[in-house]
Every structure is written in C-alpha cells, then in structure tokens.
Amino acid sequence: MNHLGSHALAKTEIPVTLVATDDSKRWARLLVAVGRERDTAAFEALFRQYAPRVKAYLMRTGLNASLAEDCMQDVMVTLWRKAHLYDPTRAGVSTWLFTIARNRKIDLIRRAGRPEPEDLPWGPEPEPDQADVLALAQETDRLAEAIADLPEKQKDLVERAYFGEATHSEIAAATGLPLGTIKSRIRLAIERLRRSLQADASGASVGVSRTEANDQGD
C-alpha cells in the first residue's frame, strides 16, 4: 500500500475545518486504490470499516441476520467489482456504498431490476480534481456531524424514517403522536440538517443549536 493519508495538504497550513475531512478523504483514496490497482489491503480496510455497518443497515431495513450477512457479502464483492467506476468528486464512499446496498436489497425482494436515472454523459476522464474531492469530503463529514448533533429523538426519527424500519403510521402508533406531526417532524429534522449544512458552508460555527432543537421536541 502506498502512503495513504499522508500526502494530502502537505505543503499548506491545514485550516482547522479541514482536519475533520481526513476520514472521508482516506476512505475515498482507499476505494480509488481498489479501483486502479486492485489493492487487496485497501479492500480489507474498507471491509473492516463498512461491512459491519452495511449489515446493520440491511438488518434495520427488515432483513434477518443471516440474509443481511449474505446480502452484505454480495455488496462488498460488488464494491470490488465496481471500484473502478467510483468517482470521488461525485459521492463519498459511504454514500456510494449505501446506494449499492440499497439496490442489492431491492433486487433481493423484487424480480425485476430497479429503474435508475440515465447516466450523465462521461467526458474524457482526467484525474479527479483534488479540490472537488476535498469539497465533497468536507460536505460528507459535515452531514455526518450534523446528524450526530441532532437531538436523540430527532436522530432516531430520521433513521427510522429513512431506513424504513417503520412506516410513518407505525412510528405514529409507537409514539402516540398523530401522523401529521410525525411527518412534519421528519421534515423539520431534515430541514434542520440542511440549514446547519448551509450555515457551515457559509463559514458559521457548527450546526444545530440544541436548545433550539429541543423546543421542537414535544
């Protein structure tokens, strides 16, 4: 393996806001290494990081442990087989992997394949622009931070709505809240995420104010 994680940003002073992007950048670099060099050590690192998460995601969407394990293995093999198609300027590794896991799961429960948007026309493929890679990695990290910063109740709601573990009606039944309230809270949580990202992007300090968020909690 080459010196992953060491050569980026070497010559300039590293601004504080960039430190947090090391993780996303590192995973992206490992995935590119798998695509270009069929680097098995990079693959193993990605496996150790993401396989337990992909399995957890699949279980939360309703697969039992055994099916989720099988499905996760397929997903990781697909990662290997598609790594050369990964474009670090278009998606973070977790996002890319999430869409593979989601599609694989849908393929499992449907006979027919799933329609996907028309692919954008590919131009001549130059080296990915490092500034673009960095910008995307930053965004990915900010989103993860914004989610981590959500009040526990809202985070739980977003996760349950998104991973489809429960329908809105089931959440309503479980929490005793009316369906309309549930839907508007999920929207609120997502809106909050979006705003905290915009605030970050415009250089303000990190995301969500907890007191403000808690006002919405009941």
């Binding site: 098995t40 693959f43 496996f47 150790r48 993401y50 396989a51 337990p52 998460r53 399995k55 957890a56 995601y57 279980m59 442990a65 989720a68 394990e69 996760m72 293995q73 990781m76 093999v77 697909t78 290997w80 087989r81 598609k82 790594a83 050369h84 198609l85 278009r90 998606a91 977790s94 996002t95 890319w96 999430f98 869409t99 896991a101 989601r102 599609n103 849908i106 027919a112 799933r114 329609p115 996907e116 948007p117 028309e118 692919d119 954008l120 965004e139 990915t140 989103l143 993860a144 914004a146 989610i147 981590a148 977003v158 996760e159 998104y162 991973f163 489809g164 997502i190 995420l193 979006r194």
Partner: protein
C-alpha cells in the same frame, strides 16, 4: 431546459431511501433524467443515507465473513457498464428500458377521444402508464382516490393557471378535481403514476375506467 414544476422532495427521498414501489421508482428515475437540479437533490438524499450509514451501530459479522469475501473477490471480474443503446428525444433511458425500445416500440391502446395509453406496470403501491393526449384536447375531468403524478415527456398541457412542459411534474391528491388540456401544436405524452384507481366524475368515463384500468 427550465423546469417550473419540479418533482417534489418526498418522492426523491423515498427513492433515495429505497422505500418506493416499482411504479413510483420509474417516474422518479425518469424525472431525474430530465432535471439536473432534481439529480442534485437526489444526490443530497443519498448522501443523507451515507451519513446515516456512518453513524449506525455496527452489527457483528459471521466468523468467516472476511475470508469468504476475500476468496470471492479473487476470481471476480470488474463490472463493465453497457451504454444504453439508441437514443430517443422523448423517452429517457429508464423509460426505454421499461418499454423495451424507443417511442415506436410503445404498445398504445386507444382510450377514446383520440387519447392513447400504454400500461407499463402495476403493483400494490400504484400503476404506471404512458398517456398520449391529442394536441389541443382535454383529458376527461377526473378526481382520484389517491395521489396522481404526471410527468410531461413531450408537448405540454395547461391545468387551471399552470402550464406543464417536458420535465415538469404535476402532483394531484385525492382532493384535486382537474382537467388538463394539451397545448395545440403537438400531442402531449406523459408518464402517469397513480396511487389508487382514478375516479371519473362522468358516468361514461367511469364505465370506460373499468375497461381501461385507468
């Protein structure tokens, strides 16, 4: 292309999360193919999925998990992407896939008054069809039991004060009684998804509905 009536966020999030029935997936994939802003919003919802994946509590793997996968990748060939064959000015790739060809391959059925339709799929969550309305003509006045999504692929229609052209999506819910009228000049071709069977207000259309499965 300017999209004045873009696909709503809840459809994009449902698609990103993988919750939608197949009929709805098709209209989302088609709408996103026609609207770069929708593509960006979809990417945002997929990034949300990725961020949740980073945050999720890990699940223990089977003991031999890594060994099994390492053995499998030894002989695994890289995936080659096949470029979608042909081009069509009306049907984007996901629709060509569903139709099994370009616009000429659509198997239209007459639906009365020059209106043609082609059923593309039906599942527990809804029905998806192509609809062709002759230039200048009105669709039968109808309400719905559930939501109805109409994506314009060719031509345009006017409904009340709003005009919908290629790439625009009209969303009607159970309360909406509407009567889209196709622009003069060109037949209007739309992809329509209904959550539940439409209910027509006139008797004749209601009888027709039983046969046409609108």
């Amino acid at each position: 292309m300017t999209i004045r009536h873009p696909i709503p966020d809840d459809l994009l999030m449902g698609y990103a999360a993988g919750h939608l029935p197949p009929s709805h997936d098709l209209i989302v994939a088609t709408a996103v193919s026609l609207d770069d802003d929708a593509r960006a919003r979809l990417a945002g919802y997929e990034a949300l999925g990725g961020a949740l994946l980073e945050e999720i509590a890990e699940e223990p793997l089977r003991d031999a998990s890594l060994d099994t996968v390492m053995a499998r990748i030894k002989n695994a060939q890289p995936v080659t992407i096949s470029q979608p064959e042909g081009r069509d000015d009306v049907l984007p790739a996901p629709l060509r896939e569903a139709v099994g060809g370009d616009l000429r391959a659509v198997r239209w059925k007459a639906a009365g008054m020059g209106v043609k339709q082609a059923l593309l799929g039906s599942d527990a969550g809804g029905t998806v069809r192509l609809l062709s309305i002759p230039a200048g003509q009105a669709m039968p006045d109808h309400g719905h039991n559930g939501a109805e999504f109409t994506l314009v692929l060719q031509g345009a229609f006017v409904d009340g004060d709003d005009r919908f052209a290629r790439g625009d999506m009209e969303v009607a819910d159970a309360a909406t009684e509407h009567q889209p009228v196709a622009d003069a000049g060109e037949d209007c071709i739309c992809l329509v998804v209904t959550d539940a069977p439409l209910k027509f207000s006139g008797l004749l259309p209601r009888i027709a509905q039983r046969f046409l499965k609108i």
